[in-house]
Symmetry: C4
Subunit: 225 residues, 4 copies
């Protein structure tokens, strides 16, 4: 029953990351689904026609684009977080707090996305949305660099050539968000269009993909739940 | 501590599908539960009687039907997704993105369902609801055909005779949704009634069931968590 | 990589219940948390005092009782569902559908609870709340009797003396709900008070508890995740 | 198939805590994400400028602080709950009910946080927020002391020197909340400021951290999923 009995601080206990990841999956799932609450269905009493619905949909089109964008952005962040925890398998106080701060900014995305969907042509809104995402990515990077630097937290070594690619990928999105924010000073809506482009960059294959199963080749490396 | 040390792209890492499935379970759970938010409770100040409540319930009956229908549809999709991952046990970038796009359309179901519940007699609403479900199924099928085609992602082989049945099942719902959409061009509300029939088809036993435990017979095959 | 290769319907595959339970945990977690959305915070512009807040809290007191009651009821149902799956470890189509229907009525609880919190003195509301819970319990019982009757779905045998106690426990709540509904025909609010009493019955120890760890005694039986 | 066959109450069954923890992760994830619903995006029709958005953000600043505070508080409680279940690995009826009551007060946090964000200068609001958190912590402590006292529920022994530190940590937050409540009797908003300080105390390293992996030292103790 008692797996271990440790009486001194020399005997450390390895607290796995499974539940912290499960909390994150829950936060992501709820944040992704709450995005849809912004797509409000109007309450008309009668005389509802195709034309009226169509007019309404055109009117709220920016909210749809903001939904699609924010869903994709959350998907990218989830993917990155999931890949991080291929390499990070245990937690300590600092790693939990870094994750909590990351989750906090993920929870704010539905708010920023609602702002963006309603006022895509207001410069401050572009700034808030970008700042929210940049801060989330900053904590995601902090989790990565801290979690993979401690042998006690690491699940497996990061191949050195991967590390460089990952650093570039981490820098990519914030750079684009800063470009979007700068563009918004000229013309706010340009920032919105710039945001809409960013998810497509993550469809481009990267060297990381070569480590995962593809059309050809077997699996000689490790396994992660 | 370090399960594997891989230094070249020849050594692949098997990233399991458990967390991607957990995210999906979360998305489904939230989407299913958000459906109920459409069943609004009116705020009357006083003089509330059985008759008033009953009148209100009759008035919002289409929303109840839309709730029941959409819950059943999400249940069917979850079932299909769960069965897919009996056969698909690992992920790569493409499979994660296909799942994200699938989850995205699942998240949209509460919106489409709210539209359907309020305006079941508007042709464009029938079209939007059907399109949402057809797109979700399209990505579900793409996950299936891609994920079972790569040996590195596969958990177990798909029996050839099952594959055919599954293809028919995948084609069934979209066909019915297209019929509903076509009917809606004649009389919008017919499309709504047609949608209400679709879940019942999935109660019909299929050859897939013979692979799962039933009244008689043992278990000689594999096991899936 | 490929755990099993099965080519005929004689070789069955054991589809574990873990993901179905995870979906349920998600549905319960969301339903429990959505209950709080009924506890609305009024939007006053200024002049907010202790007295005003206190007045408001007194005004919405039935909603608080409905929250506490419904949370307890969901907790009891979750407990029952969790205990069922100590004995049921695999699923088939029918068991998945029974669970989906159970989850569907769980998702409806926030709606019924909102109605009860606002109109605890309307007879039809008492009836709707009771009907919702009785239907949920009916499916919970169906899951239990079906899932434990099939050897292929069973995780472990149900001790015969336990089965009897469990049947009594299953009958207890619906009986009380029917009493509440009958009372509501005399005076609606009596039904509400009757509901408020039901959760306390489940704090009473039962013979099932003797199978789980208590103050004394070891663990010689099985283990469930 | 049948892992164990037990026919008498002497053979106990160990019901693991995994699903109870999963339910909790879901409740926390939803509660954390629902906090953001308080950050309402106003619906202006036209003429929306940076200045207008900025004015609005200043106006709702207390809601932002309440969001950040409540998210941090939920993070701290989740951390504590997660650490508890490093030591508690099985459940019985009483432990499930203690957890349910804990989860119930977690579900109430979005309500109390909404009140605090809107009326941070009303004394009763400070009292409600504090009472909510104190009650949650009380049940958290009850789970801890009950769950680690029963050998049948324990996963591993609690080092005696840790127990003392943990007791201090458990007493810390309620003490601060009581101070906040007392301050609110002098000037309500002081209570709000006092709350805002509490999360920072949990960033201070404690002797518990020495049991988890840090910059130096290996892992000689147990492992927890």
């Amino acid at each position: 029953m008692l797996k271990s009995k440790f009486t001194g601080p020399e005997e450390k206990i390895r607290v796995g990351s499974a539940r912290l990841e499960a909390l994150g999956d829950g936060v992501f799932a709820v944040a992704m689904t709450l995005l849809v609450l912004e797509l409000k269905v109007p309450e008309w009493e009668s005389g509802v026609t195709n034309a009226l619905i169509w007019e309404h949909l055109k009117h709220v089109a920016p909210s749809f684009f903001s939904f699609a964008l924010s869903f994709a952005v959350l998907g990218i962040m989830w993917f990155a977080h999931r890949m991080e925890h291929v390499f990070i398998g245990a937690v300590n106080r600092k790693l939990i707090w870094l994750n909590m701060l990351f989750y906090g900014f993920i929870c704010l995305v539905p708010f920023s996305a609602a702002l963006l969907g309603r006022y895509p042509d207001v410069q401050l809104v572009i700034l808030i949305y970008g700042a929210n995402l940049i801060l989330a990515i900053a904590f995601l990077f902090w989790i990565w660099s801290y979690g993979t630097s401690l042998p006690g937290l690491r699940e497996r070594e990061v191949p050195p050539e991967l590390r460089q690619v990952i650093n570039v990928l981490f820098a990519l999105a914030p750079t684009l968000y800063i470009v979007a924010i700068l563009l918004s000073f000229i013309e706010p809506v340009w920032g919105f269009y710039c945001y809409l482009l960013t998810p497509f960059l993550y469809f481009i294959p990267t060297p990381i993909d070569r480590y995962m199963p593809a059309k050809t080749g077997g699996s000689k490396g490790g396994t992660d739940r």
